[in-house]
Symmetry: C2
Subunit: 339 residues, 2 copies
């Protein structure tokens, strides 16, 4: 089959990879209907993380081709969306809603779903069947659920966005935009997008932002305080992952408020004393997308939400290298790859 | 009046200080019935924080002598216990239960309650009246409520200790011991004290610890995992505040679990990526003791809890310098000063 392989930083190629096969009785093999490039794929692309002939991709959806003997909830022909982390969905951690920390957790990034097919371990605990075979126009929205929507949603839930709350979202990338969508769906009263890009500000407002703050760092914090009677936001989502953005998010959260964060760079060092005197709740980590998938698929299927607009470039899988370039050069927020 | 003043690191004296007076109409002046030395008083004593002729002490209880014109809930003659942070208890942050982040928050450490008297601002929002004048045998327990009990209690609440939960407590100082007491009261199923001192292990078991782990750092984490089917504790309290103990606490918390922390040294730097991949909730900061004070006083008054045992040395105020030495040399866990 054809698949994306990163030979080394900046060198992405589409080439022949071995067809996946069922190995464990809990596996499924799916034929991808679409896949995409994640902001986190830029880390190895930019040399921030090592890359050595690595199969790429962790977002996916498609049609089940084959299942192992123990798979019960999906069968060949079913259309499925899966989380970017494998989970059994039965262990104590999964049952508590933290499937990304499942005792059988495994990152799909190790599998590489920017490809025609993929083997998905623990299919019953990882994949969720859609109500039917979707129209291709639903592909972007459903694919977003696999990571960016699920991650933004988790961030908003972690920040306890809800009725009566003021939510500040640091970052206007795909995840930040999805956190805005989620905060809106969760009933937040006011949603402040921290964004400097006119196009993304527009999308932020489309998804539910009521205010836009362009300032960053301490100025950004001061602006959030100004908008919240000096107190700070009840709920803050950190969706950038740098030292500056993380501390901006800490500073923007009111005492006793909630900070949800869904990605940090390897060099972020949080000064303990600043976090301490902030007096805030935090929850972060790879998002337990599987917890939210059934609900998110329902909301997409019913037309209640349209997360697909985060994709602003669509290319065939064979042109994945151009997709990486476009995202690296910030010509695109998020690239969908068709099959 | 007589009061404790730290001239410089290691140089603590009891000397004459000006008698406090009502300044604001929301003030009260109290005559201390007892006060004590906190582990955090050792920071300036050891030169970790600056000290320059600083009045010391932030734990207190006693009899109201005089109140300002606007004070409504306490009157001269009332016996009161107060939090180590001043709060109005009416602002939005206080109403959300985070009185230590009150818009009028002020650290009582700036006032110095190791003295015969003290002016307490925002008396209505800071002080809580006891049901009557306590017997002196209740003094240690009530005084503990002013900080160490309230702080340990907050840590256990922040860690979401409760029925069915396994709680690990990192640190066997006064706050750690109080967190054990709190976890027990909150109904935790299993309470693991991380302690190396035989005397404190004994007290930990007295307050409710079901297990003791002597290992620290990665070995300590491995031991907690071993005791929890490889998952980690649901709830972890960090009550030491060093880099090692903080990361031990992070490592001991299961994915999706809760870490409560109530003190960190100035040099603690939390690696963002480790916190991220831990996938845990955290809540920390100066404890909003005022939230818990009415309940804690009730529990002490009814004999339900006896936090007073954390004091293992009692000295008259005039001998405060010996109290500092005893704590610095670890001859005492916590020193009560009588008046």
């Amino acid at each position: 089959m054809r698949g994306v392989v990163m030979h080394t930083a900046g060198d992405v190629r589409v080439e022949e990879r071995a067809d996946p096969k069922i190995i464990e009785p809990t596996d499924a093999v799916i034929a991808l209907a679409a896949t995409c490039i994640c902001g986190s794929d830029l880390w190895p692309y930019r040399g921030v993380e090592p890359a050595d002939h690595q199969a790429m991709g962790h977002e996916y959806m498609g049609v089940v081709e084959e299942v192992g003997a123990d798979v019960k909830t999906v069968k060949p022909g079913d259309f499925v969306v899966g989380s970017f982390v494998i989970s059994d969905n039965t262990c104590e951690i999964c049952q508590a809603g933290f499937q990304s920390k499942c005792v059988h957790a495994e990152f799909v990034a190790q599998i590489g779903t920017q490809a025609e097919k993929a083997r998905i371990p623990h299919a019953d605990g990882t994949l969720v069947k859609t109500p039917g075979t979707p129209d291709p126009e639903l592909y972007p929205a459903l694919l977003a659920a696999s990571d960016v929507l699920g991650t933004g949603w988790f961030a908003a839930v972690a920040a306890e966005a809800g009725p009566g709350k003021t939510v500040a979202v640091v970052g206007d990338g795909a995840v930040g935009l999805m956190a805005i969508l989620a905060a809106k769906q969760l009933g937040a009263e006011r949603i402040i997008a921290m964004s400097r890009h006119p196009e993304r500000q527009k999308l932020a407002r489309y998804y539910g932002a009521t205010d836009v703050v362009e300032e960053r760092g301490e100025e950004g914090v001061a602006k959030i305080k100004e908008l919240t009677s000096g107190l700070g936001a009840h709920s803050v989502v950190e969706a950038v992952g740098t030292q500056e953005s993380f501390m901006q998010a800490v500073g923007a959260t009111r005492g006793g408020g909630h900070l949800g964060y869904v990605g940090v760079n390897y060099d972020v060092k949080i000064p303990g004393i600043e976090l301490f005197f902030a007096g805030i709740h935090t929850l972060g980590g790879p998002a337990p997308v599987r917890r939210f998938l059934p609900d998110l698929i329902d909301r997409i299927w019913s037309g209640e939400i349209d997360p697909g607009k985060v994709f602003d470039l669509t290319l065939p899988l064979e042109e994945a290298p151009e997709g990486y370039r476009a995202m690296d050069e910030r010509r695109a927020t998020k690239v969908l790859l068709t099959l």
